[in-house]
């Protein structure tokens, strides 16, 4: 009996949903946008326009300048004749980084001294600037190491081996190539899940409120919980299709590794859809007009999205905001997604996240169906 009622309601929702083609296209587009992001966006130094000034014009200085310009992530944009040209180029935004080798560079090196070079960086984007400085430091480290070996040999210290040294064997885990594309594909996927999960149900409820059809539904014997299930289920189906498109694109187009269990990922995604729909329904019970829904949605979505470790690592935030991240379901979902795809961990590690999402979803859906009738009464 109850299932027939539910079935009828779901049919109504599917038909209504189907009529708004623009909406469907936009939902699918959101997942396509992920592909664009994976392809295009990076927080890494890539293709950075650099300028060089070689005031020494010796074989040694040319070698250093060449090695600098060929560094991965840099693109030689200008070779200036006067060091002050660097300032003008940087003001105009034409170069972001510059290496200035002063005259006398080779002479100092031959004399066994310590030669100074200047690196000028556009600090506007502090993250990129810091990375560029790190890349240059790495180059100079290798360069200095070679010179040191030569110097030691030159003075006949064959016993260089006897100098105590520490060798650091560094291994990068989970993503040895440090591909930002993998990271952003996965995090954008999680953000899309949250965004659509909250917006679509909230809007669907407010639309009925605005159209005045809610009162009609309320006169029928349908319960609040049934109504919520009927509203959410078809949307979750569509969103799971979108999610699958996103996952397939990540795997095939971007070679994102999937080291853990797909089944676990979908199970956790379903929990995430439940939690985010819970937020959406709750929103829908508060708002009276679409405009209010929007404002409220953004008021909630932005913090949820940012306090999750998608844009910046949670460890970078002030302590207070770090605590606040525990309130964002996206935090758990992001940890689970990165864990399953990149780390290949299973439920034995991810059970706290799974549990948190389940509790979050159940509480929210419970509260929102309780508020449901009241909001109309």
């Amino acid at each position: 009996m109850m299932s027939r009622r539910l079935w009828g309601l779901m049919r109504k929702e599917v038909i209504q949903f189907w009529r708004d083609r623009a909406l469907m296209v936009l939902i699918l587009y959101t997942f396509v946008e992920i592909a664009i992001c994976g392809w295009a966006l990076t927080l890494d130094v890539r293709n950075m326009p650099v300028a060089v000034y070689d005031g020494d014009r010796t074989a040694q200085s040319r070698a250093l300048v060449d090695a600098f310009a060929r560094l991965e992530g840099f693109r030689l944009a200008a070779q200036v004749e006067d060091p002050s040209d660097v300032d003008a180029l940087m003001d105009a935004g034409k170069v972001q980084f510059a290496l200035i080798v002063p005259a006398g560079f080779a002479r100092t090196l031959r004399a066994g001294g310590s030669a100074q070079v200047q690196v000028v960086v556009d600090g506007t984007n502090s993250s990129i600037a810091g990375q560029a400085l790190a890349i240059t430091a790495g180059l100079l480290r290798d360069y200095n190491e070679q010179i040191l070996v030569r110097r030691v040999e030159r003075v006949g210290l064959a016993r260089y081996q006897l100098v105590p040294r520490v060798e650091n064997m560094i291994r990068i885990w989970y993503m040895p190539q440090l591909k930002y594309a993998h990271f952003i594909m996965l995090t954008m996927l999680t953000i899309s899940v949250l965004l659509l999960g909250v917006l679509v149900p909230a809007a669907a409820i407010v639309r009925e409120k605005e159209a005045g059809t809610f009162e009609q539904l309320m006169m029928t014997p349908i319960t609040g919980a049934e109504l919520i299930v009927a509203k959410i289920a078809p949307m979750i189906a569509l969103k799971l299709i979108g999610l699958t498109i996103g996952v397939l694109m990540s795997l095939w187009l971007f070679d994102v590794p999937l080291r853990g269990s797909v089944l676990l990922f979908y199970a956790i995604s379903a929990l995430m859809f439940m939690s985010s729909s819970g937020i959406g329904v709750l929103l829908g019970t508060f708002a009276r007009t679409m405009q209010q829904t929007l404002m409220l949605a953004f008021f909630i979505l932005f913090p949820l999205a940012f306090l999750s470790g998608t844009m910046v690592p949670i460890g970078n935030m002030p302590r207070l905001l770090q605590w606040a991240t525990y309130l964002s379901p996206l935090r758990y979902y992001v940890e689970a997604t990165l864990g399953i795809f990149l780390k290949g961990v299973g439920l034995d590690v991810l059970w706290p996240q799974t549990l948190a999402l389940a509790v979050y979803g159940l509480v929210l859906l419970g509260v929102s169906s309780a508020r449901f009738r009241k909001s109309l009464a």
Binding site: M48, P49, T124, L133, G138, P164, R171, A203, M295, F299
Partner: protein, 378 residues
Amino acid sequence: MSGVLSVLKKEVREIWRDPYTLGLAIFLPLVLLLLFAYALNLDVKNIPVAIVDLDHSAESRAYVQALANTGRFVPAYRPATPQEAERLLDQGKAQVVLIIPAGFAQALRQGRTAQVQTLVDGTFPTSARVVLEYVEAVNDVFTARVAGERLVTWRRVAGNLAAPAVAPVPLVRYNPELRSANFIVPGLIVVILMAFPPLLSALAIVREKEHGSIQHIFVSPLRPWAFIVGKLVPYLVIASAELLLVLLATRYWFRVPLQGSLFFFLLASVPYVVGTVAIGLLVSTVTSTQLAAMLLALVLTLMPSFLFSGFMFPIFTMPTALQLYSYLFPARYFTKITYDIFLKGVGPEIWWPQLAVLTAYTLGTVVLASLRFRKKVG
């Protein structure tokens, strides 16, 4: 002209009737600015490290101390075995694992090469890269110190071998302390202005379509442009209020330096603010439901202004096709102007092309919105 006024009056009354939305529209941007500026911190510091010291010597403790002295790493965990440390990495509790094997101190004392092992969590590549650099720098400094003691005895013959052959002297321009907020907060002005005004104005016309009251406009003698302008102005006032609030917070709360002229910044923000509202109206003329309008506004304004404006992700790192794509969105031009004025302190001779494009863009959008609207009338 009286047509414009009556549309304007009606729209103001409608906004006024919903003070809830109005209040949110004006204060939400401020709240978000505060939140994001703190949350979007890309500085790499306080990295939790799990340390497995199997050597238990003065030397191994000195190595750990050298790591902690950078101020970037916090020795947060001291698991007994490498397996436990790896689990901490799996759980995401530690981002770096340092393993100092037994025999570390002995090797150093005998003048041999001692080995340590570092595991870095590469999940967030941007931080991982900087972490790598610090880890290597710490190792260098430590090696130079232990080697230095021995090299001192040879200095007579070899000169100062401990000093680096080439020493870089870094000069950081525009943002000398590399302060993340100086770059995040002005960028957020651009994003927040692109986020809220268009979302409000996108519903302005489509709402009347859904309610059917648009028919009254169709049969009235009102000119399309008068209707558009009348709808535009109230949202423009809201958007300007948002701009001023956000600007005050930038200067007096976050203390972001304003190197250039405030007058120029306000001047350049006029076409941008008008543009944000106009884009919303354009969206409103092409969609038929409020939900679709809001999603389209989102796709056209918020996402590109965040992703393709050069704010978080520098434009030069994008593939060429996407660099061209980014020209389609006004946020790109205004981001450049904002950074030019706030951080670089350069004048119009540098950013006039961006301002010109922005102005043309805004005028074009208003005209297009009027044209689109006329078509619907006919």
